[in-house]
């Protein structure tokens, strides 16, 4: 056991910290609005220009070939510096690991550099009106068009985060209507500017147009946009959703930085005499939960670099970070007292309403990427081995 980073890693940290301190933009409007999204894309391009957008990727695709440890360090520094949300997240952190695992060389060469450079902006298309927690219930279908060398898509995707602003979506489509629920689906990448695609923005709880519905009406997708084998989409998708629950989507740096801000908020509220003493323990508890997530991640990564996968334990991870995020932001909102309900733009809002916005966002955590009820089933059945029934 050695909890020190190497000199190389520490100098990587120093370089990242210096660059981020000099370049991180502050007070960007939410990336889940049209205007904010464009400004975030500019920031993503700046990150890319300095090769910070996807540090763990090989240099040929736009990364730095950094180790997992360096990736973790970059994430820590990114959030410590107050870096904004990553609107490239669904591409770089969710689709890319799947392309690395299942993609052809041509797909890697085509998609990864444009993704790193924020030239392509990706959203995910898992959910459908009747397929939420029950992902295998999807009905969008792809019909073979041998002549054209591709597939004709029809159906509807929903809860597509930032779908109204992106130009590509990835998701599952039913290619064999006769197959059993989990079979007969294929993982496809679909250009949102293709004929037959309609995107409708949907306003999220916090008022941002963060969701979209994507309607597909005879949309043609060529064979080179199929990721993994035809009818093998379920297995490919499971790789993506596992990334979604685990390490790559939610690095501990994000929660540790939030916990440090919560501690700072406590001190500020204390100084003016408005910190609720009942919340003292809750602040400490939230800080410890973020730290526990960091430590658990260090243990996971120590295993990963030696080739040990965490498997179904990623469901534990998803439950933990989503619930710690709710607890942390709820504690902060309570600490604000009567100002807790004020939002962005309200003259007396503390931190310009960022805590209420973060609280609202945190409430989606136990829902998306597989509800926490489903994750608890997975933990019980696949980690502990309880009978499925």
């Amino acid at each position: 056991m050695d909890l020190n980073f190497t000199a190389t890693e520490e100098s990587f940290r120093a370089e990242a910290r210096a660059w981020l301190e000099a370049n991180v933009p502050h007070n960007l409007p939410s990336g889940d609005t049209r205007e904010g999204f464009d400004l975030h894309v500019l920031w993503e391009k700046k990150l890319y220009d300095a090769r910070w957008s996807a540090v763990s990727w090989p240099t040929e695709f736009g990364g730095r070939g950094s180790s997992l440890w360096e990736w973790l360090i970059f994430e820590e520094e990114y959030y410590r510096a107050g870096g904004p949300q990553r609107v490239t997240q669904n591409g770089i952190f969710l689709l890319a690991p799947t392309i690395f695992e299942f993609g052809t060389d041509e797909q890697k060469a085509t998609f990864l550099p444009r993704m790193a450079a924020a030239d392509d902006l990706w959203c995910q298309g898992w959910s459908e009106p009747d397929a939420g927690s029950d992902l295998a219930g999807i009905k969008s279908r792809a019909t073979r068009d041998d002549a054209a060398g591709g597939w004709i898509l029809n159906g509807q995707k929903t809860w597509t985060t930032r779908g109204a602003f992106c130009n590509w979506v990835f998701g599952l489509f039913r290619t064999d209507p006769d197959a059993a629920r989990h079979s007969g689906m294929t993982y496809m990448m679909v250009p949102l500017d293709a004929p037959g695609v309609t995107v409708r923005g949907v306003e999220r709880l916090d008022g941002d147009e963060g969701f979209a519905e994507v309607f597909l009406d005879d949309v043609f997708v060529s064979d080179d946009l199929v990721l993994g084998g035809v009818n093998e989409g379920w297995g490919v998708a499971m790789a993506t959703t596992s990334s979604e629950r685990g390490l790559t989507l939610r690095s501990p740096g994000r929660y540790c930085a939030a916990a440090d801000r919560l501690v700072d908020l406590w001190k500020r509220q204390s100084k003016i005499g408005t910190a609720d003493p009942s919340l003292r323990d809750a602040v400490a508890q939230s800080w410890m939960e973020a730290e526990a997530y960091r430590l658990a991640t260090l243990a996971d990564v120590s295993g990963l670099v030696e080739g040990k996968s965490s498997g179904a334990r990623s469901s534990l991870t998803k439950i933990f970070w989503s619930e710690l995020d709710v607890n942390l932001n709820e504690t902060a909102v309570r600490l604000l007292g009567p100002a807790g309900e004020l939002i962005e733009g309200s003259p007396d809002a503390i931190d310009d309403g960022a805590w209420m916005k973060a609280f609202e966002f945190s409430l989606s955590g136990p829902i998306y990427a597989g509800t926490n009820e489903i994750q608890r089933n997975v933990v019980a059945e696949r980690v502990l081995g309880l009978p499925r029934k």
């Binding site: 939420g132 009942s278 309570r334 309900e341 939002i343 608890r376």
Partner: protein, 340 residues
């Protein structure tokens, strides 16, 4: 001993509830979010017509001279429909303040108007930096140290604030004592403020019960319809237990709210403790109900296209208003533990 409402009280409540059902459907709440004032004077007039705005105004001033036991069940109906407007401030708090503490001339200036619906009052006690509905109020009842004033609306300087609940309208209100009428001061001022605070807290607790009941009802309806894995999601034990937990919280908060109403109305010695218990429990129940409601709705509940968020956001705001659960739990702890 009879811990129940009379048939008359229930009939009054149901009649007002029917008015809300007709005139304060979710589209009306949505309208309130988007309208400039966000307030529907006709609905207020209808409440006045029914006697609601004058419920706590003494008969001598044109009201019905009723008390909190009559009023709070009606406020629960207001919560059920997420009614936007200063019903707590005007009827539960301001009218009794004026009736109990104000010199006759000041009481006579405002109370008949409250009763007939032509006067809207709002409140700012110490510790309440944001005044609700000041933009449509005719008078602000405000505490400054141990003095209570009535400040006519034309003498207020308002800075609008923005609540997460778009139907709530908050303001910072500045005013000069020279432009205000003194209602009470010294011990009497503090007593007036204490009783006003208890009334606001208990009334808000009653609203929270209605919000919670409605969130549970809406969610029960949704999960009974919504299917995943081929069955209604309401048939999954985890969903059942979420909703049972919410129902448990609300069921054991409700009696404490009625008890607080009784304690205020009869000014029992433990009124502070009873009110704090009610607000503590009602705030906690609303937090649980809102959390479970959103979780059971899933993504659809996380949009503004669905109506659920009106109730969620009102619950968050009111759970914190007039002292949150932690504040009131501490007051109970102080009353129980720091003497004897």
């Amino acid at each position: 001993m009879r811990f129940a409402f009379t048939d008359d009280q229930l009939l009054f409540r149901d009649t007002v509830g029917e008015l809300f059902a007709k005139e304060c459907a979710p589209e009306a709440v949505r309208w309130s979010w988007n309208d400039v004032t966000g307030r529907n004077p006709e609905l207020w007039a209808a409440l006045a017509e029914m006697g609601v705005t004058g419920l706590t105004v003494p008969e001598a001033h044109g009201g019905m001279g009723m008390n909190e036991v009559d009023l709070l069940p009606i406020l629960t109906e207001a919560g059920r429909y997420a009614f936007p407007g200063p019903i707590v401030e005007t009827i539960a708090v301001a009218a009794p303040m004026l009736a109990e503490s104000a010199p006759a001339a000041i009481a006579e200036r405002w109370l008949p108007g409250i009763a007939d619906g032509s006067v809207i009052a709002t409140v700012a006690l110490t510790g309440q930096p944001f005044v609700t509905d000041a933009h449509i109020a005719d008078v602000l009842l405000a505490q400054r140290d141990d003095r209570i004033f009535a400040v006519p609306a034309e003498n207020l300087r308002l800075t609008p604030q923005t609540s997460v609940d778009g139907a709530r309208r908050l303001f910072v209100a500045e005013w000069d004592e020279a432009d205000a009428e003194l209602i009470a001061s010294g011990d009497e001022g503090l007593r007036c403020a204490d009783r006003a605070f208890n009334r606001g807290a208990a009334a808000t607790a009653a609203v929270l019960i209605g919000l919670s009941e409605q969130m549970i009802a809406t969610t029960v309806a949704y999960v009974s319809e919504r299917k995943q894995f081929g069955v209604p999601i309401g048939s999954f034990q985890a969903v059942k237990h979420h909703l049972a937990d919410a129902e448990l919280k609300v069921s054991f908060s409700r009696p404490s709210v009625w008890n607080a109403a009784y304690s205020i109305a009869h000014n029992v010695p433990d009124v502070d403790r009873d009110v704090s218990m009610a607000k503590c429990f009602a705030s906690d129940a609303a937090e649980v109900a809102s959390r479970k409601a959103l979780q059971c709705h899933g993504a659809i509940g996380y949009t503004t296209e669905h109506d659920l968020h009106f109730w969620l956001k009102r619950s968050w705001a009111l759970a914190a208003a007039w002292g949150d659960a932690a504040w009131h739990r501490r007051r109970v702890a102080h009353l129980l533990l720091d003497q004897g």
